[in-house]
């Protein structure tokens, strides 16, 4: 919005000199925070814009699967909590788009990329939330996985992103506890409720493991991101952390994780899991998940239906400033 004119900057990479790049890396190595007005390599900026905008899109698209249960939440307490939670996710989207704007990427441009299918968001939100137990499972597992990913980002080398993450993580851990508590209530409930909880876990478990991204070695951006301290742990390390944290929680709920190969390795102290279906992951990223089209369509519809409202607000603001000038 404010930065649109700056989007077409010249290919800066050509004029970057080696000294500057070296000084920049030295700052990173010294755990210095990079701020919006500091010099940075063009590739660093591009990497961050890609990551932050994917993250922002995930928050906004992530409103949809849970949002579809707000009007059907089974108690007033749950209804209020779910509405507040989905509202938080929208707020996360806003902080993140604002962080991207500090890197000269406008919200409008990023949103256009999303609606035109040129930008990615987390694969997890392309799965349907079909029962109330999915609201528990999403909070417990999806927000839980998001926390694993995002806590290290609170120490990301780029200041505005790191600060946004600190705020976001506080709310995500609240969401995670709330989701677990929904699962807990279902697991202590009727036979049908417990079955609903198990069914949700069966459907969400594997897609949640995929949230951490392709296995180490297959990931394109990790090495440079690690050197720039944007990424501090590998995909597999974070996935392992998540599995280790979640197995005892599932046990506590009396639920069975849908992985017959799951086993505790006494030598490493970690839980080993079965093979992840990376073909499914690739299909979802390619747009072929169960809900990809619905999600983009819903976002587009909101955007198009809101067009006249945004136009009215802009026209009114223009009239106001004209009146003030007169």
């Amino acid at each position: 919005m404010y930065t649109q004119a700056l989007n077409d900057r010249p290919a800066a990479a050509a004029v970057e000199d080696a000294d500057q790049a070296e000084r920049f890396q030295a700052r990173i190595d010294a755990e210095d925070r990079i701020e919006a007005n500091d010099w940075m390599p063009e590739a660093y900026r591009r990497t961050l814009v890609r990551q932050i905008s994917q993250h922002a899109h995930s928050e906004i698209i992530g409103q949809l699967p849970e949002g579809n249960w707000i009007t059907r939440a089974p108690s007033l307490r749950r209804k209020a909590a779910l509405l507040a939670k989905v509202q938080d996710e929208c707020g996360h989207g806003l902080y993140l788009y604002a962080a991207a704007e500090t890197l000269d990427a406008s919200r409008e441009e990023l949103m256009d990329q999303l609606m035109e299918g040129r930008a990615r968001y987390s694969s997890i939100f392309n799965y349907p939330a079909t029962t109330w137990a999915d609201i528990g499972a999403i909070g417990w597992l999806v927000d839980g996985a998001a926390i694993m990913n995002q806590i290290p980002l609170c120490r990301c080398s780029y200041g505005p992103y790191a600060r946004a993450m600190i705020r976001v993580c506080k709310e995500e851990s609240f969401h995670q506890r709330q989701g677990f508590e929904i699962m807990m209530t279902l697991c202590n409930g009727t036979v049908a409720q417990k079955a609903m909880a198990q069914d949700a876990l069966n459907r969400w478990w594997w897609p949640c493991l995929m949230m951490f991204g392709p296995p180490d070695g297959a990931s394109q951006h990790s090495d440079q991101s690690t050197r720039w301290k944007i990424k501090r742990f590998s995909n597999d390390a974070l996935r392992q952390k998540f599995v280790d944290a979640t197995v005892p929680q599932a046990e506590y709920l009396g639920l069975t994780l849908p992985d017959p190969a799951l086993a505790f390795d006494a030598a490493t102290g970690h839980w080993t899991h079965g093979e992840i279906d990376w073909d499914e992951f690739k299909q979802v990223l390619a747009g072929n998940g169960p809900c990809n089209r619905d999600r983009i369509e819903a976002r587009r519809a909101a955007h198009e239906n809101g067009e006249w409202v945004r136009a009215a607000a802009a026209a009114f603001a223009a009239k106001q400033s004209q009146r003030q000038a007169a």
Binding site: S75, L94, F316
Partner: protein
Amino acid sequence: MAGGPGLRRFFEDENMATNTITVSETPLVLYALRRADDSLILGHRLSEWCGHAPTLEEDMALANIGLDLIGQARSLYGYAAEVEPREDGRSANDEDGYAYFRDAGQYRNLLLCEQPNRDFACTMVRQFFYSAFTDPYWRAMTSSSDPTLAAVAAKSEKESAYHLRHAAEWLIRLGDGTEESHARTQRAVDALWSFTGELFDADDAEDSLVADRLVVHPSAFRDIWSDTVDVGFARAGLRRPDGAWMQRGGRGGRHSEHLGPLLAEMQHLQRSHPGARW
């Protein structure tokens, strides 16, 4: 009864399956339910926008207002549960009982609150009409002789002041924005106008509470509401409809076609798992 035992059993089973509650509607219970139902139904309508609003900022604002209203509903249902007389042995109703186990005919909200969102103009005009009433109403209710109602009013007053400001700003922006936004807003005003008369109604039950100084008569707010609306319309360049006919019925449980589907969606999970806790 016509029909064989099979048909009779069908009706008995039906009654068991619906598990609709009965409510002893004393004047105070009825009062609390009416105001709670207004808040819940309107809050529910606003929550339908979540994830679909014209801007992210507005997505958050509508959720905020919805949350305020659902919160007000919960306080008022809680109070209704506290003061509802219990016939021997019957356990008390609670907030979820009132929300999830009453049929449309037992809902007491204003027809205005159940009107569908349609477009953003309609949503904002509905909110403007409602909040232009509740803002002065809750302010006056802070001096209710009933300490619980006074406390609910104290909280609601602050919230309603913000709801009114927010809706009035949009009314003006949309009315004085583009040709399209003006036309949409005028159409919303014309469509919703006939639901505003009910805001000022009270019946014998409510009159008895007025006499005891528990509540303020809603008709006392007609002039201030009218002034707020006129000022808003003037700044927005909107025309006040001439039609004097006002629709009524919500307070007595006679609703439009829009409440049934809303309740079917809201209540289905509770109703299809009788006795479950969530």
